[in-house]
């Protein structure tokens, strides 16, 4: 099985900042590609996704469960050109888990991401 690509799809510069943070923490480069929706409509965002995903397989980590980043990602995954899973609510914890576990299927990686990302959300009372 070929190693998974991770593509972060976000508003503004969130995706780029997350890639930088993952690299700073792990030292792993090239596992994640950032895409911003800045200044582009759905057609151009689709072009950016096509370029980032390549032949796949890939997991698309999207910032919000709605809006242009999400609709473009879901639409692109539905086209069926590559084996792709879409995960929303991207956070740093799920990305850190992902970069160390990329020899699995997109669907399995998506399940791991939801688990790792969800476990990182806590309320701490003083």
């Amino acid at each position: 099985m070929s190693e998974l690509r991770g593509v972060i799809v976000s508003h503004a510069a969130v995706a780029k900042a997350m890639v930088d943070a993952v690299t700073a923490i792990t030292g792993i480069e090239g596992a994640l590609t950032p895409i911003s929706n800045e200044g582009c409509g759905t057609a151009e965002l689709g072009d950016r996704l096509r370029e980032a995903v390549g032949a796949g397989p890939a997991v698309l980590f999207v910032d919000l469960p709605g809006g242009s980043c999400f609709t473009s990602s879901a639409r692109y995954a539905k086209q069926g050109g590559a084996d792709i899973a879409v995960v929303t609510g991207v956070n740093l914890a799920m990305l850190l888990d992902f970069v160390f576990n990329r020899d699995i299927s997109p669907a399995e990686a998506a399940r791991r991401a939801v688990d790792a990302g969800g476990k990182a959300i806590h309320v701490t009372r003083p």
């Binding site: 508003h11 929706n37 200044g39 582009c40 409509g41 759905t42 057609a43 151009e44 919000l64 469960p65 709605g66 809006g67 242009s68 999400f70 609709t71 879901a74 639409r75 539905k78």
Partner: protein, 157 residues
């Protein structure tokens, strides 16, 4: 209240619409006018995911929207009407002469379009269509978020 915003935005339902405009206007319903989306349950589910449950989303073809416009305009709640491109706006305005405003909220780069504003790219033909819309009595301005200035059509076409 009524439809508070008639918007041309190629992203249709997204953060600027739901949060940027939706919060200050206290929007209760969004009308998405698009012939393709109105015929696809899958596309409709995608767009609904970006909207909080307290906001109703209505999908309509241009033809249905023209028929329903009086009902939405007399709705006691506040609503937003969205179209995804200039042709749809022109088609709707042609069938619904009571439509007197259009906000160009986001028309992005594509081959053949030139940058008119940071968030508005138009072909010459699209610019001419907007000018004709304005000449026909529709107040056409460009404004991405409520805190920005509403730019008159004469300044960006």
């Amino acid at each position: 209240m009524t439809l508070a915003l008639y918007r041309i935005d190629d992203r249709l339902i997204h953060g600027q619409v739901v949060v940027g405009w939706g919060q200050p206007l206290d929007v209760s319903f969004i009308v998405l006018v698009d012939d393709e989306v109105s015929g696809s349950d899958w596309e409709q589910d995608l767009y609904r995911m970006g909207v909080p449950p307290q906001i109703e989303v209505i999908f309509a073809s241009v033809e249905k929207a023209a028929d329903m416009l009086p009902n939405w305009e007399s709705d006691p709640r506040v609503g937003i009407l969205l179209v995804g491109d200039i042709d749809t706006a022109v088609a709707l305005a042609g069938r619904a002469p009571q439509l007197k405003r259009f906000n160009v909220g986001g028309v992005h780069h594509r081959t053949g379009r030139k940058e008119r504003l940071r968030f508005v790219y138009l072909t010459d033909d699209e610019a001419a269509k907007l000018r004709r819309l304005a000449a026909g009595g529709v107040d056409v301005t460009a404004q991405d978020v409520p805190t920005a200035r509403a730019v008159p059509v004469s300044e960006f076409t």
